[in-house]
Subunit: 234 residues, 2 copies
DNA sequence: ACCTGAACACCGTTCAAGT
DNA sequence: ACCTGAACACCGTTCAAGT
């Protein structure tokens, strides 16, 4: 720590190098360990150098999220049915986020104002327009799909706070075993399917225990529901 | 500031009073202003008092989220069709979260491990079982619905970082105006419907500009998609 | 232009001490 | 049991100064 600073040449860093270091720190040390000083340490410099290149913590986080999203390889827009195309984009989004799970807590706020390249937005809008959405309903359909995918994956990846003292998981499971079947009949009848697998009864984040089956079902739900909206039978 | 401490009687606080003060600070000052010291100041005490009653920042946040979710009034389970019942619960969840928008950033991580009362979980599971979901598919359907609702509202409420310098919104809109219609045809054709209204092109959080139409459409999408899953036609 | 070294203000948390 | 007062370690950010 603190060794190795003051190297021979000076201008070793560009913004990309700093962003790479930031992502490495976030991947390795998690959100609590993601610190301007830790990023500087990993580069062998002082915090002010990080500030000079990327300009502050929240801007560094934005750049990191942009970098992660740039790892997405969207499918070609022409070949697939719009339903399959949307399925592939959603799977690809989840794939890159699972590769960097600690990004999940920031991606939503970064994505409100898209600093990223508009190619992906154009692709999704184009495919939804092909499905039949026009004007304000096109905007709503976009928000429905993107909000569902981004939000769902964030919920999946969110982990319980690390404060939890060891052993309370057993106590919590015991308290679930004591639930009265009269008051909670469905919960009691499905306890084995539900404990540890369902939002609200998980002791680990989605990076350790991914919800694969639920995500595939969610894809079917979102696409089927959008299909109904695209061709209203009312 | 700092005035009014050292009052006459000592045991004025309980955990509920501290949690109320924490929620008030979070509502008024936002996430950056939510500080153990600020909570203590609002109570007229020292930080150590807050620690003594609630035991740390993350536990205080968990208690605040629990308190907000306790404001939900779920519909009676018997009267409604399962589709309408789920619609009402989702609307009620969004309502209480919009009443405390700054909670949105924490609710996902708090909800992974449900410290809250299991009544709501029982109600949703019961209604999904009535719709025809059994065993592991019941767990998946639960994760699909809860993850979509919770995640979508979190995305809606997430605000861009406050770092953004004033005036860049105009610059960003200008850059959108310069998008080549050949490269971004759908984006260019729907610019008026999309700019400021769509995830990725918003300059404010969902508490100031709620996405009401998109949420209602999302409800229809989720429920219709779940209906298909409940009665597979394969 | 880019980096050093150090400082400032602030925050989460803890602890000995009081009552 | 509950609160005071102060301290510790740490972090984001800035700034004068170097090259």
């Amino acid at each position: 720590v603190g060794e190795g600073k003051r190297l021979v040449d000076r201008q070793r860093f560009g913004p990309e190098v700093v962003v790479d270091a930031g992502l490495a720190v976030l991947d390795a040390a998690g959100v609590p360990g993601f610190t301007m000083r830790a990023v500087a340490d990993r580069l062998g410099t002082y915090p002010a150098t990080v500030y000079w290149h990327v300009g502050g913590r929240s801007q560094l986080l934005t750049a990191i999220v942009d970098r992660v999203l740039a790892e997405m390889v969207p499918p070609g827009p022409q070949v697939l049915d719009w339903r399959d195309w949307l399925r592939e984009v959603a799977r690809e989004y989840r794939r890159v986020l699972h590769a960097h799970p600690n990004t999940g807590q920031f991606v939503a706020s970064v994505l409100t104002t898209g600093v990223t390249a508009p190619e992906l937005m154009e692709g999704i809008l184009n495919v939804l327009a092909r499905a039949g959405f026009r004007g304000p309903r096109l905007a709503s359909a976009y928000n429905v799909l993107v909000g569902s995918v981004v939000g769902w994956v964030s919920v999946e990846l969110s982990a319980p706070p690390s404060d939890v003292e060891p052993g309370w998981q057993e106590g919590f499971e015991a308290s679930l075993r004591d639930l009265s079947p009269e008051q909670f009949p469905t919960l009691a009848a499905n306890r084995d399917h539900v404990v540890g697998n369902v939002i609200g009864l998980r002791w680990t984040g989605g990076s350790q225990v991914p919800l694969d089956a639920a995500f595939e079902m969610a894809l079917d739900v979102w696409i089927a529901g959008l299909s109904v909206q695209a061709e209203p039978q009312g």
